[in-house]
């Protein structure tokens, strides 16, 4: 019921092109999900000014006002907040003042945009093609409920700088959600992806690295799934043991990219000489800046 894309740039010469490349990739995945989309962009200086804590807020009636020390940049229906305090502190302030708003993401150098509508219209409305940065992750969604809302969109970001996108479905997430709730985790939705995201976040918060966290996830969750997890400086892909949902990875010295279908990678610079493969089941492929 969706398409996922991810791009991790290894050379700063390409940082100015992140948004342009990511827009193209997301657009190619519109057929897999045409009702809503989300992107996470790491390192855009306008959306997430360097050295500041950032929070992405959406599903809110008007621009949030948290005082003069919090800057607000509007990106279509998302408000990018930045401040000199840490993202976690800023997040708490947003939650206190706007408890009903949807927090799309939070973390240094991170902007997360989610919206309802055709992915190509959304990337236009966001001006994604002009965004810069070192890493981006995106998701296009086929809606199944009559009311399509931003809260159903990926990426799910449940820890600072952490994003997760998911193609497929879990089979035993209801039990895992109960276990996480007992451990004090609060959920925003009934979405199965959110269970995966919060599970990973809990693992990372306990000090495990991404590879271990994803291996734990594979051991715990049943279902068919391709997952892409991004952190401030890392990018990891894993598929379940049966690996029916599609995924392809391409790697050059300049970038690593992942998508549900090859067509999303076909316009990346130098893809003709990229190493291209489809991830093996339960193998975590991870890259760090």
């Amino acid at each position: 019921m969706c398409g996922i894309v991810g791009l991790h740039l290894r050379t700063p010469e390409l940082y100015p092109r992140l948004g342009e490349l990511l827009s193209g990739m997301l657009g190619e995945m519109s057929d897999r999900g045409a009702d809503s989309a989300g992107v996470a962009v790491y390192g855009d200086p306008v959306w997430s000014p360097p050295g500041r804590g950032c929070v992405s807020v959406t599903d809110i009636a008007a621009a949030p006002d948290l005082g003069s020390d919090v800057d607000v940049v509007q990106v279509d229906s998302t408000y990018q907040l930045s401040s000199d305090v840490s993202s976690e502190v800023l997040l708490e302030r947003v939650r206190l003042s706007y408890p009903d708003a949807l927090i799309a993401g939070f973390g240094a150098d991170l902007a997360v945009l989610k919206g309802v509508g055709h992915p190509r219209s959304l990337t236009d409305a966001w001006g994604l093609a002009k965004a810069q940065g070192w890493q981006g992750v995106g998701h296009t969604r086929m809606a199944t409920e009559s009311a399509v809302t931003p809260s159903g969109c990926h990426p799910y970001t449940v820890g600072p700088q952490q994003c997760l996108v998911h193609n497929g479905s879990f089979a035993n997430h209801a039990t895992i959600r109960r276990d996480l709730r007992r451990a004090g985790v609060v959920f925003d939705s009934e979405n199965d992806t959110e269970v995966g995201a919060r599970f990973v976040a809990q693992q990372l918060a306990a000090g495990r690295d991404v590879e271990t966290a994803l291996k734990e996830l594979c051991a715990t969750f049943d279902g068919f799934y391709t997952l892409l997890v991004s952190n401030h400086d890392s990018f990891a892909v894993v598929r379940d043991a049966i690996a029916c949902k599609p995924a392809v990875i391409a790697e050059t010295t300049e970038w690593v990219a992942m998508a549900s279908e090859y067509r999303a990678l076909s316009e990346l610079p130098g893809v003709e000489s990229a190493k291209i493969w489809e991830p093996e089941p339960e193998v975590v492929y991870a890259w760090t800046r």
């Binding site: 019921m1 999900g33 086929m142 809606a143 199944t144 009559s146 029916c244």
Partner: protein
């Protein structure tokens, strides 16, 4: 005094938990080391159409006279995208049943009877036979995980294509055909060695999930130049979501098969303990279609325990466009007829109990590949019997619809129904008779 009176007098009491059939099942497992395989659908009592009643005519609801005051029964299936939707004279179709599970003459009879009554038949997990295509005016071609016998020539010969995700008897199970039924002809059609026990896939080989199904539906449309309706069939489980996803993926018709739906062979535990009753599935499917504003535009076919015109009328009243019959069609052909009592006894069974379709020793010659047994079955006589039965189903449904003041059987509505049990009221989402109470409904309740 009967044997059971005698036992009662002597103070013998059977356990409801470990009753005699359960004891026999445990002992059979201990002897053989393999699960019990059988045909038919769930046999245990379940909330079903019998628990619903029609309100009929009243001071404010006027019945229609027979004959001249028309009560229509025709239905169009698949007019959303296809160049050639199916136009059926009656809202009862013949469900998918494989050649392999059934004999060639039986498939021929189904085609004859359905064509005489102006409806459709459906191929099964084994492909299209010339007999069925030859006799059936409207033939739906099933597209299953196994893809046995699947080929584009037959795809083009079909009148509709039914993508099967699952069936009510075993949602999540693949086809099953044991060696005794893998005759030379069946083996040839399925590209299998003769006489082996067929292992079958339970998932499609080249798609999983509604995102991929969308592409697959388009492929089948492109191959057949958008001529034929595409059905998507599911066994009743998470029906509300399945129907929504099927519609999103592009289905023209959705087929929902409840747990009472039959199979030719699968594990008994699968049949009895997986899937939900037909009654509980229909309102979910209808709600899904209504929320997407495609009710009556994407048609709904319901199957799983349809037995008489009352069942047909109730399924339509709950929102189906048509029903499909499988087990009932075979019974009409002659399955489990008392005339074979002596032979059923020899097989360790009895008329009315026989469900060992997997053995291929059916005395009625219907669910067998044995040439001698199959020869007992006369396809022309069988076709006539099926046509008779289909006519009765239709007339019974019309009688009820007229009594409710309807000019067409699909004008029946949930408000024409009440339930006599709390479970049926909750599952069918109609009030308990004499009350306004629909258990489980209300703000925030339900889905």
């Amino acid at each position: 005094m009967t044997a059971s009176d005698d036992r009662a007098r002597r103070g013998l009491r059977e356990s409801a938990t470990f009753d005699r059939p359960t004891i026999a099942a445990i002992q059979r497992a201990a002897e053989t080391g393999i699960y019990d395989i059988r045909g038919w659908g769930a046999k245990r009592p379940l909330p079903h159409f019998d628990d619903l009643l029609f309100l009929g005519a009243s001071m404010s609801r006027y019945p229609l006279e027979g004959y001249r005051e028309r009560c229509g029964t025709d239905v169009v299936l698949g007019d959303r995208h296809a160049k050639h939707p199916l136009h059926l004279d009656i809202p009862v179709t013949i469900a998918g049943m494989s050649f392999g599970a059934l004999s060639g003459p039986a498939k021929e009879a189904l085609g004859r009877g359905a064509s005489e009554a102006g409806t459709s038949t459906t191929t099964g997990d084994g492909g299209m036979t010339p007999e069925e295509r030859g006799q059936s005016k409207n033939l739906v071609y099933q597209y299953l995980p196994s893809r046995y016998g699947m080929n584009p020539d037959d795809l083009r010969k079909a009148d509709a294509i039914e993508i099967v995700l699952g069936q009510g008897a075993k949602p999540g199970g693949g086809g099953m055909l044991l060696g005794q039924k893998i005759s030379p002809r069946v083996a040839g059609m399925r590209t299998l060695p003769e006489g082996i026990d067929q292992r079958s896939a339970c998932r499609h080989p080249d798609w999983t999930g509604p995102d991929d199904l969308t592409i697959k539906i388009n492929e089948l449309r492109e191959i057949t130049d958008w001529e034929k309706p595409i059905y998507v069939k599911v066994g009743a489980t998470r029906t509300y979501y399945d129907v929504k996803l099927a519609v999103h993926a592009g289905a023209d018709v959705v087929v929902v098969d409840g747990m009472q739906g039959g199979t030719a062979a699968t594990q008994d535990v699968f049949i009895e303990h997986v899937g939900i009753p037909t009654l509980a599935a229909i309102p979910q499917a209808v709600q899904a279609l209504q929320e997407l504003d495609v009710h009556r535009k994407v048609q709904l076919i319901v199957s799983g325990g349809i037995r008489n015109g009352a069942d047909v009328a109730k399924a339509l009243a709950l929102g189906a466009d048509a029903v499909a019959i499988g087990t009932a069609a075979l019974i009409a052909l002659g399955d489990n007829h008392p005339r074979y009592e002596a032979e059923y006894e020899k097989l360790g069974s009895a008329a009315g109990f026989y469900d060992d379709f997997q053995d291929g020793r059916d005395p009625a010659g219907i669910s067998t590949q044995d040439p001698e047994l199959a020869a007992r079955f006369d396809p022309i006589e069988g076709g006539r019997r099926l046509a008779n039965y289909l006519r009765v189903l239709t007339m019974e449904a019309q009688t009820i619809a007229r009594a409710c003041g309807k000019a067409h059987v699909t004008h029946l509505e949930p408000e024409d129904l009440v339930a006599v049990t709390i479970e049926a009221a909750a599952m069918a989402r109609v009030p308990l008779a004499g009350t306004e109470w629909i258990p489980g409904r209300g703000p925030g309740a339900g889905l």
